[in-house]
Symmetry: C2
Subunit: 312 residues, 2 copies
């Protein structure tokens, strides 16, 4: 198993990426080979310093870097030797089985769509977030920003992809799907959710439990929470601030610690043919390690293949 | 000044409503007369027990009650002697200057629209919520559920109404208006926010500071946060659970105490011709008292008149 990792992505690259690699190699019982993609002059000294086993890491030189604020499509086209472009070349050609970057999110998405492409029949890929439930359980919310405007059919596909992820990665047996809405009863909501409800209800690939509300997001009501990317993005970013606020206000509690999204690593792009994981710009070592762990799990469990089956 | 109060609205009526009246009469230096509307057989014994000064309260008999789950329009039509219907009759005829109820939200909205009507030019009234900011400041978010689908022109009006409320009731000098969105830059967002941005930018009645994101909701970035009622409702209900969770988990902090929405009383309906305030179904005495205080302030400051001016 070969996992590609962009060493130049994120504000703290490449040092934190290297630290993540170290944590993965020392803490995880794995035989995965890591393809470390980045500027040799910057990564090689670090790799020498950290003294990684040569059979577990492979340095891939990429002389360019796509900055965080570059235009995704333009940058990918013009910077074919960037770490992100090289990462996707390796993935598309089969040399790696997954690709991870904490770099330019847009470039990662465009790269995924143009190199490994969306799963046949998928209208649009999606990104999700882990939601820590009050009772200790873990849910998944999607879409969280890739698709600000959605059609009912897209939400229906998000429900399927989210269910596969919840089952295979989060280990939830028969994940309950809830439609994010402003009321519980069928018929409530905006035009989109009103049109989506019947699709979810009829979908035999999911276990739909009906509408859920804002008050249910942190409760153990639905495991897979489906919405368009506008609402999802706002919920995600609001949830992220909860951890920051409790840190700043010195409020110590294990529940709020679970809102430290670094512990989940990054978010996988669901609906494309191979595992692609996007990290937060300020990812530290732990986040990189967790993204590698997630990539490994997604490869092992054949998550993308399972999604293809369920989406037929 | 006469303020109408539905004694039968809410799960804890009429006792908690009576307690709220008592708190208002004893704690507030006011000369407002309270019109207590409800079933005489249920309210009179309580009023006698609490021994309110006769010049400050006026009992108005209403033999019917609209239940929480009745269909608003149907119930209002058929129950002309319900406390909500009587409350709006008093308000529309000028016998009272404001009306408060913790009863059926839909009936309150329908009643407001049909009796005192929307301010001329207002496409749709709106309801808002107070948002406690991390630094101790207070913001307002609107719409929070009345309008699940919105047009850009509606959001533009919400911005004006929210600004007037923030200025006159929250005492914020030149309230900063932010458009809830998924990115900071102009041009980001869904179809609705992309179309709304230029309207807000050109609106001379508000101080527009641009897009805000989920991470800004609890930060002191914008005082007036504008969105359609779908997103707003989900944010509100999510925020409400924060207080409940911290209570259940025994996390004590003054910041989270501010998410106890009872301290704000209820939400005013903005965009109608007179002050109408809707309380939460489980309102306690303190919530009723705070709603009376808010109604009084809205009457004194002529908030509705100011909105009319600003919306021209």
């Amino acid at each position: 198993m070969n996992i590609g990792l962009d060493m130049m992505g994120g504000d703290l690259a490449p040092l934190e990426a290297v630290k993540g690699v170290q944590q993965f190699l020392t803490e995880e019982n794995s035989s995965a080979v890591l393809f470390l993609i980045g500027d040799q002059s910057k990564t090689e000294p670090l790799l020498t310093e950290f003294n990684f086993p040569v059979d577990r890491v492979k340095l891939i030189h990429a002389e360019q870097v796509i900055d965080m604020h570059e235009h995704p499509t333009k940058a990918l086209k013009e910077k074919q030797k960037s770490s992100i472009a090289v990462g996707f070349h390796l993935l598309a050609s089969g040399k790696t089985d997954a690709f991870i970057s904490a770099g330019n999110t847009g470039a990662m998405l465009v790269g995924a769509l143009f190199s490994i492409k969306a799963i046949k029949g998928v209208l649009r890929p999606t990104i999700s977030t882990i939601i820590p439930k009050e009772n200790g359980a873990t849910g998944i919310l999607l879409d969280v920003g890739l698709n600000a405007d959605c059609k009912p059919e897209q939400l229906n596909q998000f429900a399927v992809m989210g269910s596969v992820f919840a089952k295979m990665i989060l280990g939830i047996e028969n994940p309950r799907v809830g439609l994010m809405n402003v009321g519980e009863e069928e018929g409530k909501g905006n035009i989109l959710t009103q049109a989506t409800f019947p699709l979810l209800k009829e979908n035999k690939h999911i276990h739909f439990i009906g509408n859920i509300e804002g008050r249910d997001v942190l409760m153990d009501k639905a495991d897979v929470m489906v919405c368009e990317g506008f609402t999802g993005n706002i919920i995600l970013k609001l949830a992220e601030t909860l951890y920051e606020i409790t840190q700043r206000k010195n409020i110590q509690h294990e529940y709020f610690d679970r809102f430290n999204f670094e512990i989940y690593g990054g978010t996988p792009v669901l609906g494309v043919n191979k595992p692609v994981i996007i990290g937060h710009g300020i990812s530290h070592g732990i986040a990189f390690k967790n993204m590698i762990v997630l990539a490994q799990k997604m490869i092992e469990k054949k998550v993308m293949e399972k999604m293809k089956e369920e989406l037929q």
